[in-house]
């Protein structure tokens, strides 16, 4: 009995294994063969082993991040997801490759003399991707939808909180946003609580984008899987963790894209090998190859494109805790980091030492504004004058990480303090969400941090990180003089005067050593020679419509 059953079972298992194996082989061979014969004409699909053919088609293949939210502009909160959303949707205004605000759905706008009312005139030729014309009503719907408490947008109060009545709508106290008024079909007025020269920059954020009311009301649950925006590209495929494919929107009003489509590979994988295998147009240089790529000894050097990031890495002090409540201690710490040496020795000179807070790409960046440079002798002197001279408490620097060895840069900084000041700082890793929470509670003495720009305006760095009433001021930094300058700048509508105010504030913040700016990071990209007009832009802006592929430029 048992033997017969066993024989039967083994037979069934063997049969199953055989069947599955055969199906797999057929699928692979058949799929590969079929693909090979039918796809030889459409070059973008890389068939294995054939090199160089990605330059024949008109599809750009690059890599991207798995979206951290659905592709709904009012839910987007990270750079990775914005990359797709800014190509699919558009708003009244947009940013060009120089990070200047340009008209998008609006053709022009007028600002009232008190700077509180913006009147936008819409273009005549803007349509959604399904060819329906965009009207002022769509703009109002989109902004009110962003503020609708039922939609729980994580970003609307942050970027559009200055619109009259928006917070009332968000908090459920009003049925609409009173500050957004439809004048006629092609005119819309937006009223602000306070005049703001950076309002238009904020309006370029996804949360201000225009969406299609008809589509959303018809397909509330799934519309983000085939969104109907006004951007230069349509979403034609989205498989989470695998692929996003955008195809050209032929109705686009600011100049139709040159590419047929852009494929974002989301899976990660061995990007460099795949780049070398001609499966991707765009790659990234891994840290280990950076030196060779940078100094020209690698075959990849010709494709190397450094791309500055509009962001800042810094070491922050908790100015409310000992010993960093004493500015002299902070200054001494700031003067004992040799960032140039760290850059040369550890980073192959690939990063930019941050001499101030605002990155060089930021409008309002001022070369005259500088923080403390490396001066260990002076640092020692300042420390001796501080109230903690001779009774320095134990210091811990916290960073977000998973444990193990601290990043090399932090270890080098730690060694710098040890050498110059004779102070041993302990490095401590903390899990990311706990790190964020403890930052807000003000638990840490000192922490490693970074800030990436939301929109190109000094307000986004200086006001958000250093105003005493800002949620993001995790240093607990309070300087009434700086607060006064920042408040004045918020409502100053003359740009030159406003940037001068920010320069003053920035210099004061650096003098107080509220933080130690370390680096303005650079991304190390690889771009195939057949890709034309790859823009080196430091923020997420619509950029793929400028790019083309020219097989004759292939090396």
């Amino acid at each position: 009995m048992s033997n017969r059953t066993l024989t039967l079972m083994m037979g069934v298992v063997a049969f199953l294994i055989l069947v599955v194996g055969i199906v797999f082989v057929i699928a692979v061979v058949g799929g590969g063969g079929g693909g090979g014969s039918s796809n030889t004409a459409s070059a973008p699909k890389t068939s294995s082993g054939v090199t160089g053919d990605i330059c024949q088609g008109n599809t750009l293949v690059t890599f991207g991040e798995d979206p951290a939210s659905i592709l709904d502009p009012i839910q987007v909160r990270d750079v990775g997801t914005s990359e797709y959303v800014v190509e699919i949707f558009g708003g009244l205004v947009t940013l060009d490759l120089n990070l200047t605000v340009q008209p998008d759905i609006a053709a022009s706008w007028k600002v009232s003399p008190d700077g509180k009312a913006y009147t936008f005139t819409l273009r005549d030729n803007v349509v959604f991707q399904n060819n329906r014309k965009v009207t002022a009503q769509d703009v109002k719907y989109s902004l009110e939808r962003a503020a609708d408490p039922a939609n729980n947008s994580p970003t609307v109060t942050l970027y559009l909180g200055n619109i009259v009545g928006l917070l009332d709508r968000y908090n459920g106290k009003a049925k609409d946003v009173s500050g957004v008024k439809v004048i006629d079909d092609k005119t819309v007025e937006i009223d602000l609580v306070q005049p703001s020269d950076y309002f238009l920059a904020e309006l370029t954020q996804p949360v201000g984008f225009v969406v299609d009311q008809q589509q959303i009301s018809q397909d509330l649950r799934n519309w983000t899987q085939h969104p109907n925006g006004t951007g230069p590209f349509k979403l034609s495929q989205f498989t989470p963790a695998d692929k996003i494919v955008l195809t050209r929107n032929d109705h686009y009003h600011l100049g139709v894209a040159k590419l047929d489509s852009v494929v974002f590979e989301l899976g990660g994988g061995s990007l460099l090998t795949r780049y070398q295998n001609n499966e991707l147009h765009i790659g990234a240089v891994p840290a280990i190859d950076l030196e060779a790529v940078k100094n020209g000894t690698s075959p990849l050097s010709a494709d190397y494109k450094p791309q500055p990031e509009m962001s800042l890495s810094y070491i922050a002090f908790n100015t409310k805790q000992a010993p960093f409540d004493d500015p002299l201690v902070r200054q001494a710490f700031a003067m004992s980091i040799d960032r140039d040496k760290i850059n040369t020795v550890l980073l192959y000179d690939t990063q930019r030492v941050a001499t101030s807070i605002l990155p060089p790409e930021m409008p309002g960046h001022n070369d005259q504004v500088t923080g403390y440079s490396y001066d260990p002798a002076k640092a020692k002197q300042l420390l001796a004058q501080s109230k903690y001279a001779g009774k320095m408490p134990h210091i811990v620097l916290t960073y977000a990480g998973a444990g193990g060895d601290a990043p090399e840069i932090l270890q080098a900084i730690q060694a710098g303090w040890q050498d110059a000041l004779g102070i041993t700082v302990d490095l401590q890793a903390s899990e990311y969400s706990a790190y964020l929470r403890d930052l807000r509670k003000g638990t840490y003495q000192m922490f490693d941090a970074g800030w990436a720009a939301d929109y190109p305006d000094p307000e986004d760095f200086l006001d958000k990180l250093f105003a005493s009433d800002s949620q993001q001021n995790e240093q607990g930094y309070v300087n009434p003089a700086v607060d006064a300058l920042l408040k004045q700048a918020r409502i100053e509508t003359d740009r030159t005067k406003r940037f001068a105010l920010y320069s003053q504030a920035e210099q004061q913040i650096l003098n107080d050593a509220a933080i130690i700016p370390t680096f303005w990071p650079i991304d190390h990209m690889l771009v195939k020679s057949c890709v034309q007009n790859w823009p080196s832009v430091s923020m997420t802006v619509p950029k793929y419509r400028y790019i083309s592929i020219d097989a004759s430029k292939e090396k």
Binding site: T5, Q75, G267
Partner: protein, 316 residues
């Protein structure tokens, strides 16, 4: 015998209910009590207490934990697996199931390779015991197993894709020539383990009386090996195969990461780190349910195959 086996099966299955209930309570509590907060992670540096409170309410995190548990279980029984906070507002179904299916298929094909090769290799090594072939065979497979996959994979990718150009690397679906390399790597690195177990099992069986009897009867050696030795030596393999099946839904982090396969390995790691409550819960609950069920099913199968092992029947 039929009624006894049936009763035994029912009893075993009923026992699963309290086990799974306990698992769900423990997992739910541990996930909720873990240090991370999904809303903190979701808002990141742009934290605003008003927005955070709104989001906590939206996801129900402001409720007492037992109410959250009942809501979760109630939704679960209605087929609603919850929403992901890491992939804000994607449902768990959308996030987890497609990735799990990809991992399962790849893992399944790899497993077939592992056992299809491992079993004959093990039998052969056992028969070759005492000669140089036995250690040679086992250790050559062990060599493959001993190299960590995160070393093996980049080398294999460089050699087969960049150097020889015979395979592509990007993910283009499970049924694509690009998946040959990952499946082979996962499959072949497991061969040594199976082969060693099979070898040990064969050696034990070869010492049994009935094998000696079979030989004494004058049966041909091939017949002895195939019908008496191999068949009995395969018995332990049944439970090994059975218990590795539920593991297939967990995916293989390194392989998926290095080949850019949209599998569940990376997702589950990120979900734990975020933390993404509903994704972690579903993942753990599904894994434990499958494991508990596989245990029961293969215990029962064992009983069918070999009546000596039917533990429950003697008692009931």
């Amino acid at each position: 015998m039929g009624a006894g086996l049936f009763g035994y099966a029912i009893r075993r299955l009923l026992w699963c209910i309290p086990v799974l209930f306990a698992v769900s309570v423990i997992v739910f509590t541990v996930v909720r009590m873990a240090p991370g907060d999904p809303v903190d992670t979701l808002l990141g540096q742009r934290y605003d207490p008003v927005v955070a409170a709104r989001l906590r309410h939206k996801y129900g995190y402001d409720q007492p934990i037992y109410e959250q548990y009942f809501t979760y279980m109630n939704n679960l029984f209605h087929g609603d697996l919850g929403v992901s906070t890491r992939h804000q507002d994607f449902t768990v179904k959308q996030v987890v199931l497609p990735k799990m299916w990809v991992s399962t298929q790849i893992g399944f094909y790899a497993m077939i390779i592992t056992f299809l090769l491992g079993i004959p290799v093990g039998v052969y090594a056992a028969l070759a015991r005492g000669t140089f072939l036995d250690p040679l065979i086992i250790s050559s497979w062990l060599l493959l197993d001993a190299i960590p996959v995160f070393v093996l994979i980049p080398v294999a990718q460089w050699f087969f894709a960049a150097r020889l150009g015979i395979v592509g690397l990007g993910y283009e679906g499970v049924y694509s020539s690009h998946m040959i390399l990952p499946i082979l790597i996962v499959g072949l690195t497991g061969v040594a383990g199976v082969a060693r177990l099979m070898r040990a099992s064969v050696i034990t069986v070869m010492g049994e009386d009935y094998v000696r009897t079979a030989r004494a009867k004058g049966l041909r050696e091939t017949t002895v090996i195939i019908t008496h030795v191999a068949r009995n030596a395969l018995l332990p393999m049944v439970s090994i195969i059975g218990l590795s099946l539920p593991g297939l839904v967990a995916g293989d982090l390194f392989v998926e990461q290095l080949f850019g396969i949209p599998g569940i390995g990376q997702e589950s790691l990120q979900a734990v780190l975020a933390p993404d409550f509903d994704v972690v819960l579903f993942f753990v609950l599904l894994s434990s349910t499958l494991f508990v069920l596989a245990n029961v099913v293969f215990d029962l199968l064992y009983g069918v195959i070999d009546p000596r092992i039917r533990i429950g029947e003697a008692r009931g």
